[in-house]
Every structure is written in structure tokens, then in C-alpha cells.
Symmetry: none
Subunit: 106 residues, 2 copies
DNA sequence: CCAAAATTTAAGTCATTACTTTCATTAGAC
DNA sequence: GTCTAATGAAAGTAATGACTTAAATTTTGG
């Protein structure tokens, strides 16, 4: 969960996530939306990918990216546990699950 | 939302939040749970307070802190907006199951 | 008022991070 | 193979952040 939370803590990465939420976009098109250089966007995409928040698909020389909502599962569980005390148990379960699946998402 | 997200992106602050989730604690008691100095915890509490995630109450020379779940409202909305609706059912199921085995863990 | 206790504030250090520019890699067209 | 386009990787920089120690603040009790 730590990786996912750190990933969405940066506003630029949230903006990128919003772009590829429903639509599959290549890195160049994503970078065109911001006034930063290509490599900067590429680095953000790497962070998002390693956090499990986007998935990459290669098409010829392009790489297409799309959001991966499941990557926010643990974050969602944490927020909701904090939100509603009755869901405390769910949070603990999420923590256990994260320890168990170490190595699945990388 | 940016402040709240940055606040919970740091593991130590999440640990602090967990401590004051149910229970009102003074800064000293919170610091006693970690192997960092008092000022470090005090700084974290300031960040959490400014993000609206904890509330402070003064009692004599002490300052008591307690979690403030409403502070995560925007984060919750953001996370849920990204969530794949098809996975909603899974969560609810887990919730129901959790309620079913109520009373076993005490 | 004076002293002790709980905590914040100030100032500085070390690691992390978001970015830049420059170089390397991969895939398709010729 | 060579050229070009799309992109990732490497290396460097400036800003941010999580800590530390030392000093200042606030409240209570004499």
C-alpha cells in the first residue's frame, strides 16, 4: 500500500492517472498534456506501474498505458477503515493480504 | 485533498493516526510508541492537524489528540472514483463475511 | 513571581524526489 | 543493414521532507 499511496500523493501523477482512467494513451500523448519534458512523464509512469496503478501494453514502437483501479484496493481499505470505525477488521485483513501477496505485482 | 494525501503518504503518520483512531492521547504517550524524538512526533501532529486529520484539545499542560475521519472525505471520494465498480461487490462480500464471524475474536 | 513539566519552535543535516539534459534501446520503413 | 520515431535509462541539480539537538513557550503548583 505504501507504494500506491506515495504514487498518488504527487499531484502530477494523479493528473496522469485521470488521463488514462478510461482511455488508453501512449506516453507521448500523455506528456503533451503537461509542460514538463517527456522523461519526467516517463518516470512518473514507471512509479505508477511499479505501484500497480497502471498497466502497460506495447504496440509497435508505442507503449500504451491504462489505469488499473485494483491497484488502489489497499488504499481504499485503509481510507474506509479510518472513515468508519466499524471497518477496522477490514483494514487488518488488507494488511495481512498485502504481506501474503508479496511478489505478485512486480 | 493534497494535504491529506501527503499526510497519510508517510508511514509514521499512518501509525500515529492508528494510535489516536479510537483513543484520545497526549503527544508524550504517542511519542512513547516510537523510537523517534518528541519533536519529530510533534511535527507529524502539526502536519496531520493542518490536513484536518486530527483535532487537538488542551487539558492543562497536555495536548490531547484524536483522529478526525471527516478529514479523509476528499481522499475517499478520489479513491472511490477510480475504483472499478465491478470490484465493489467483492468488498461488500468481504464486509458481510467479516460481520458474520462477529464475536469470535474477543 | 519562580520553578518544573509538557510540548512546540528553531536551526541544521541527510536522504528522497521531481525535474532537467544527454545518451541508449527498440521497432518499423527503406 | 541503416535511418527515423517513440520511448526508457543514466547522471546531475535544486527543492522538499523526515529527522536530530538545543532553545523558547505555556500551564500548573508552590
Amino acid at each position: 500500500m505504501d507504494a500506491a499511496l506515495k504514487a498518488i500523493a504527487a499531484p502530477r501523477r494523479r493528473d496522469i492517472l485521470a488521463l488514462v482512467h478510461r482511455e488508453e494513451l501512449c506516453a507521448g500523448d500523455i506528456a503533451a498534456h503537461f509542460d514538463v519534458t517527456w522523461p519526467a512523464v516517463s518516470q512518473h509512469l514507471t512509479v505508477l506501474k511499479e505501484a500497480g496503478l497502471v498497466e502497460e501494453r506495447r504496440n509497435g514502437t508505442q507503449r500504451l498505458y491504462r489505469a488499473r483501479p485494483e491497484g488502489l484496493a489497499d488504499v481504499k481499505a485503509f481510507v474506509e477503515a479510518f472513515w468508519d470505525p466499524r471497518l477496522e477488521a477490514l483494514k487488518r485483513e488488507a494488511e495481512r493480504e498485502e504481506k501474503r501477496k508479496h511478489g505478485n505485482d512486480r
